[in-house]
């Protein structure tokens, strides 16, 4: 993987691709961050494995599904813990996040403005506190400052993305009442690679 050529294809937004960008950036792995306009997407669509974005090209082969891709790069770059139990802790965070995202999807796909507003309110008042609470609980149960003890894994990057990425566009700002989650987001954000990457996105 150290010598592999990686191209990530997605729209010019954070969305579902940001976690992949964060994993590769954290790992210090070069990749082509191909940001596609909405107009150019139809022409590219036949090249994607499942007719969707994001998809990656790794040494000429294409793969889809953002979580599958994130998992792969995390495993390749030592961001997946050391045991199957570490993997389970990481996957719990990933799957909880998928559930959280489904609540966001209800806002995006709402059929009319009333439903959209109602679903948006539910995200802010119910889903966000619920899922932030789960992350906080898991961090509290951990033996260290990260989800898997003292080592940064994909789970921490996922939580960082939830609080700073597209999900946060639909929630209120993270309140003080989640101190461990707040501290985690700050720690991840202070990483040199992440700082440089964020600066480039301005």
């Amino acid at each position: 993987m150290a010598n592999s050529k990686i191209t990530l294809n997605y729209f010019d937004i954070k969305g579902r691709a940001e976690i992949i960008r964060l994993v590769l950036t954290w790992a210090g792995k070069d990749f082509v961050d191909n940001r596609i306009s909405r107009e150019d997407w139809p022409a590219l669509k036949p090249k994607s494995p499942f007719g969707q974005l994001p998809y990656v090209e790794i040494d000429g082969k294409v793969y889809g599904q953002s979580l599958a891709i994130s998992n792969f790069f995390a495993r390749e770059f030592n961001l997946y813990g050391k045991s199957n139990l570490d993997g389970l802790i990481i996957d719990q965070v990933a799957q909880l996040t998928e559930d959280f995202i489904q609540e966001i999807v209800k806002v995006i796909r709402a059929a009319d403005p009333e439903t959209k507003a109602a679903n948006q309110k539910k995200v802010q008042e119910e889903a966000a506190p619920k899922f932030w609470g789960f992350y906080e609980k898991l961090l509290k149960e951990s033996s260290g400052q990260y989800f898997v003890g003292d080592e940064v894994t994909l789970a921490d990057l996922i939580a960082f993305d939830v609080v700073t990425g597209f999900v946060s566009d639909f929630t209120l700002p993270l309140p003080d009442s989640y101190p461990l989650l707040t501290a985690l987001v700050e720690t991840i954000g202070n990483n040199d690679n992440i700082k440089a990457y964020k600066a480039k996105q301005q």
């Binding site: 891709i69 389970l88 996957d91 719990q92 909880l96 998928e98 999807v105 059929a111 609980k137």
Partner: protein, 205 residues
Amino acid sequence: MASNSLKLFYYDAKGRAELIRLVLAAGGREYENVILTQDDWQTEKYKTPFGQLPVMEIGGKKYAQSIALANYCAAECGLYGKTNLDRLNIDQVVCLGSDLVSLATQAFHEKDETRKAEKMKNFAEVEAPRFFNMYEKLLKESSTGYFCGDSLTLADLFIYDQVFTESKWKTFKTEGFPLLNALRKLVESNEKIKAYLATRKPTEF
């Protein structure tokens, strides 16, 4: 190395626990299959990590999220491929299949009756076949009959469970998907799966 003791908690149903049961069966792994009634659930709810089932107790600690649990069991049972690329291929299938589950859930939980009927119809007639075609394509590319490599993995069990495990609400039409149907035969002829299915109690869901 001694393996952790496993306890699976779920309702008296196949539902979101069945994949885990299939994986453990295929892996020949012992576990305690704890069935909770609706009454049990009223008190047990507060002892779960995230207020939902299934839950597994592994070495005395509780974990949840059915896909996370299925991944763990698959890894423990040697059903998660041999390389990271294998796992990418398996995860692709499981994530793709999970998208179809999300569409089903969104349709099923629609509160407006007219919209719900439309969504359910669209799910059965458009979305499910669209995903089955993608599964056929992946099976064709693999060419071994299995989704990943030349032996049974989590990917095969996930799709088998999604498409063929009987449930009151499922109305999938699977004619016209030859490789999917061949996968069904392959999974059901696995000795350990065959033995498990032979003694599985029928449930509505």
